[in-house]
Subunit: 750 residues, 2 copies
């Protein structure tokens, strides 16, 4: 192409509708900058992780390009043919663009051009996708969310070949494809585009990124600040029942950053959706940093985007799998592509933290851009340092004042034990009714599990891969979690609007001593008139072989009620001192609020002794010891009732039920204590080390719990229930012995 | 010690009660020979696997020796303190003996001597172990079996320090400990010692090995040929209900070799007990080869001991875990110590097969003796070759004429699919009522499982680690297996004596074509008057993405009956075309014969179409396609009913039931076809490739089954039901098309 002609045409277009400061040739690059390309080309062969990723991507793209380009008329749901084909298309086009920039082989540019031309051919006449299940239907896909994914990738692909195309080709594509596409996602779908929600972040990024490529400030501003005059019914809801818009809420990318992340980087929907939302947040941020550096996007809100990467990495177990808080798929981990991108970006645009290199090494690939090359070079120079997962608190809420999540960690014989306690706000439409719930991990294995969601993502035979009705009837309900349920009713009566008004409150925490870490929180709104107060301690102590969890759950109500506290263990019962009866036929545990999904396998009534319940899972032994009162019911139940499509796992639960009481205290120890080897057939330490667990004091002011080991060692913890001031002095007498201390708790070991 | 005095004493003892050809100084060595020691010492530092094993053993022994020697008065069952202490003692003493020979550090000899002296102090006054549950109680342990384990190890320990001890010390030990110990295990326990059973093999080896050390031919002969005049009640039974002695049976080590192994090396109790029995067989054989080379023990019965090692290695899945035929613990693998020993011995005393080196490498350690050094040197020289698991048939029965086991294998994309079909004899007291049952493996994962046993070995809280009553009521019953059950009654009505009289018969097999491997067998005695005929094909074909199993099960009865065919899958239902109803409460599937342990979760009635049942396990998709007739019941059930101690896993089953028929045919395809990745959230091939499965012909003479794929390709198999001659010509007409072939089957692909 004649360069002069090109320049002329470019200038012509630049002068019509484009902002004045734009570079006509688009050469600064959206994600992969010109400087980045130069650095990459100079370092090829020097940074193994970059090279292997590049080779892998080239292999994938070349294989895909060996076939014909297919742009079918949209028809299928997730998992179906047209859905998967269009996903493959945008993913391949984006990668081909990277290859074109780095390797400068024209075939990649030609491939992208041909594909985009095919899309431009069909797009103007495409109706809405025929599937009607989404509140915001797409055109290429069944939901606008997937259409946004498409545009985020295709913006990059288009950016890569921008200079390769003729002005006429660009005009054709922009007029027939990109402008109408961007308008469809925004102006024509305000309910989708103008929310505080991960869907909108995708939409914002899509519109903003194509705006940056086309250097159209109007589109970029639409993305950053939302639609100005969106007409949205104030009661409009999405498919999950979430309210589309809170009154007076801002919209757009910056508002989503403001609202979605707490100052500590926690994303209110939880880590599973955070890792998904990270992609548009970080990618659009990278594009803005490259094309609109004056925005200083990575410093926005005290650098919360970089902080959010650390929050996300800390929300994983020892294997890097995310804790399945709220709606979440188990097994999703920081190995996923969006987190690869986030980690590489946090490295380059943050402080080049060498501990991020260790995560990148574990991920085994990098992004093929400036950030990925920086990471790969860091690794090539052996600069990585261990990413140490420490005990942390992550606040929830845009201002950090809506409760939070605490992760307590304890390392022992190279195993990392993690206790996750949740005292957040509702978590938007993906939130569960799980106030003060927790889960507990033994390295990469769940000891006490959070169920996650009821959904088989992208497995078409299971409801097209979408949420199952059991997500509402089971997974979101309180009984599906390791927390207190009053009168077989979920928190906030399972009402989303009510739940969204409130959040739990941290009472106190202390992570200063590695052998005794403690988190305490209260919830006063889940059941009006009833205060729930849970204190959890992760401790190492001479009594025990491994770190254990001490759980003290107080409930203070006004009227006589039934209180259930379930523990969702995995595996098989090995031993218990409970005298229980099993059934000749299995009945459901209840009629509604999730109880209808549990079969009651056995029930026993306490005689007021400690309950001991030992189970084995993955060849390890665990015991729950619990203080019980006479007439407490102990129920062994199993999931799977009222499940006509076999959508639920058949997981077991141990549940303690106190009937007709106003107040109650549950004191429980969860104790990992032994292991078994099926090859040597040797079991060690199949018994609990706890001789006795006692509530030695419990009144409005103070609660004292004492553990006595078989080695006669003791540990006593006393909590101040009403005042969490770190300075207040306390003095109590227990069995003739006097204790005094400062602050909300004391712990005495003997 | 004065050498002359030593010689004098040695000669004195040699002349009193010892055979004339004995070497006074015992220097030839029982397991670790003098030549072996020299070779080891010369090669230390040259054979890494030997060196690391030696270091590990030294570390273990030194750690153990840092504490005091404890020889407590026996009291506990398996898993309890005294049990584990005595186990630790003999294991440590044996290892210390090896270290003394190789490293020549006196502390090891002193340690063994002191320990043996402690045992010699208590043994003369020891009563029977207080636990009364064994048919053959021990003194150190609750069963004589464990006492034998002790003596097998202690014989080696004693051998190691034989020359280190004074003659007086030896006399003291032999008189107070070893002679009474050997007599207790043999003459005082004929029911234990004189059986054809792995217990007796241990007893024989124990008595024989101490006999070899003490060079006492009488003891050695007692071990080799059994007690001459054993008085055993002919109806005596062991704890498992097994008959102690069949009429006219020989006894002793050689008789056990004769009877226990088929000519192909299959051990009738199955691989789990084989790997256990291997230890005394191989160890005593090694001792005999060293001390009584004239016996040529490794050539005995055409070298069956070496063959048995190959049989055992072939009875494993892709991870080296044993197929859990009969009573068996899952997870037990060829990594276990007894198989390390067997493999090393098979290498040295067999043909130095380089493929055994690959197994040894996987095992990661060697025995610290002549055999282990030979293996370690082979590996140091990089002589190992892959141990290829091929399709094989292993005959059952001492003469190889009592049915057998076939393992069909197919490799695909680096995954090894294994189909295990069992048409053996009863399998002695550890046998299950599982005629013509099968299991199917996708690499190291069970697709269609064999339950194994109901037992938690060495986990004391579960019945002291012993067999659970559910082993009889569930695990042994026919309904616990993937085979046909008539009228809800187990094969042979679950009667051991009846079952022990019969065995299934192979009908034909053909492993000559890798893409179509076939095994066919018949069972005529499990239900008198009813003939069962199962043909299983492991095939790769253009229709399918992976190897599939075609299962054709014919049953030919005399009176109208109910026939059930279960498939024990793992994981969760994804999709089915079955119209079924689930229950508001769960009822048991039946009242007895194992049916009382199943909860009926759902039931549907066939309308005569193909049943399609797709499930996911470990992120893989599988489908069962089955030809059904109108009115067939399809039942989804789950284990766990009538299980008051939660001894059973909650595994699911798909069961097809034909009611009120005399004859029936079940034609089924088990099809692995896709996978899912929870990190990328991509599922591929979640649907079966089979469009239609048909029985196109079925009469007394012939059965024809046709599979049609969605790609319209077809495969048709025709079986001759009455004549398995390889030469006979057949000619049949199906839908106007004529087929002719030679031999028991033909397979046509279109």
């Amino acid at each position: 192409m004649n360069k002069l002609l090109f320049l002329f045409i470019a200038l012509f277009f630049a002068s019509t509708g484009r902002s004045q400061n734009s570079e006509s040739s688009n050469s600064s690059g959206l994600i992969l900058t010109r400087k980045g390309v130069e650095k990459i080309q100079a370092n090829l062969g020097q940074a193994p992780l970059f090279d292997t990723t590049l080779q892998q991507v080239k292999k994938d793209v070349d294989k895909e390009m060996a076939g014909d380009i297919e742009v079918p008329i949209p028809k299928d749901l997730a998992g179906g043919y047209t859905h998967e084909r269009h996903k493959k298309n945008y993913a391949t086009a984006q990668k081909a663009g990277v290859l074109f920039k780095i390797l400068e082989e024209e075939k990649y540019a030609r491939y992208i051009k041909e594909m985009l031309m095919e899309y431009a051919k069909i797009y103007p006449n495409l109706p809405l996708h025929p599937a009607e299940r989404s509140y915001a239907r797409g055109k290429i896909f069944w939901q606008a969310l997937n259409d946004s994914n498409w545009l985020v990738s295709m913006s990059q692909a288009y950016d890569s070949i921008y200079d390769y195309l003729t002005a006429e080709e660009r005009e054709y594509l922009e007029k027939n494809l990109f402008y109408p596409y961007a308008d469809f996602l925004s102006e024509e779908n305000p309910k989708f585009f103008n929310r505080i929600h991960n869907h909108s972040t995708w939409g914002n990024a899509a519109v903003g990124m194509i705006g940056l490529v086309m250097d159209d400030d109007e589109l970029v501003n639409r993305a950053l600040y939302g639609l100005e005059d969106a007409k949205i019914d104030k009661d409009a809801r999405d498919n999950d029942g979430g309210l589309i818009q809170q009154p007076g809420q801002d919209a757009g990318f910056l508002a989503n950053i403001n609202e979605a992340f707490s100052p500590s980087g926690y994303y209110t929907e939880g880590p599973y959706y955070q890792r998904y939302a990270m992609y548009p947040f970080m990618l659009f941020a990278k594009a803005l940093e490259n094309k609109r550096p004056e925005l200083d996007i990575f410093d926005y809100k005290n650098g919360v985007l970089i902080k959010s990467v650390y929050a996300l990495l800390n929300l994983t177990d020892a294997d890097g799998e995310f804790f399945p808080l709220n709606d979440a798929q188990k097994g999703m981990s920081y190995l996923t592509q969006s987190v690869v991108m986030a980690v590489d970006a946090a490295y380059l645009y943050g402080e080049e933290d060498p501990s991020l290199l260790a995560v990148a090494e574990d991920q085994g690939r990098v992004t093929l851009d400036d950030a990925g090359m920086a990471v790969a070079l860091g690794l090539a120079n052996n600069e990585q340092q261990e990413f140490i997962k420490k005990s942390i608190e992550l606040t929830d809420g845009a201002k950090g004042n809506k409760g939070g999540v605490a992760i307590l960690r304890s390392k022992d014989y190279n195993r990392l034990y993690s206790l996750v306690m949740k005292y957040t706000s509702q978590g938007d439409s993906h939130g569960h009714y799980d106030k003060l719930s927790f889960s507990f991990y033994d390295d990469g294995e769940e000891v006490i599990q959070d169920y996650g969601f009821a959904r088989f993502v992208n497995i078409e035979p299971k409801n097209g891969g979408g949420y199952l009705k059991e997500n509402t009837t089971w997974a979101k309900q309180s009984i599906a979690h390791n927390t207190l349920i009053k009168n077989e009713t979920s928190h906030f009566e399972g009402d989303f609007d009510t739940g969204s008004k409130y959040h739990s409150e941290k009472y106190f925490s202390d992570f200063s001593r590695p052998e005794v870490q403690i988190i305490s929180a209260k919830e006063k709104n889940a059941y009006p008139g009833t205060e729930m107060h849970r204190t959890m301690v992760l401790m190492q102590n001479d009594i025990f072989r491994n770190p254990v969890v001490l759980d003290i759950f107080r409930v203070d109500g006004e009227v006589s009620s039934q209180y259930d506290l379930p523990f969702y263990y995995f595996g098989q019962l090995i031993d218990t001192n409970l005298e229980y009866e099993t059934s000749e036929r299995l009945e459901k545990l209840g009629a509604k609020n999730g109880y209808q999904h549990l079969w009651k396998e056995a029930e026993g009534v306490s005689e007021g002794e400690n309950l001991k319940f030992t189970w084995a899972n993955n060849n390890k032994f665990y015991t729950i010891s619990q203080v019980t009162q006479e007439e407490d019911s102990i129920i062994l139940a199993r999931l799977g009732a009222t499940d006509p499509e076999f959508n639920l796992r058949r997981d077991p639960v141990l549940l303690t039920r106190k009937k007709e009481v106003e107040n109650a205290i549950f004191a429980t120890v969860i104790e990992p204590h032994g292991s078994y080897n099926p090859v040597t057939e040797l079991g060690n330490n199949s018994y609990s080390q706890i001789k006795k667990l006692e509530v030695v004091l419990d009144n409005e002011e103070y609660t004292g719990v004492k553990i006595t080991g078989y080695n006669e060692k003791q540990v006593l913890i006393i909590l101040s229930n009403q005042n969490n001031s770190p300075d207040l002095e306390h003095r109590v007498r227990i069995n003739e012995e006097e204790f005094s201390w400062e602050g909300p708790y004391t712990l005495i070991e003997k």
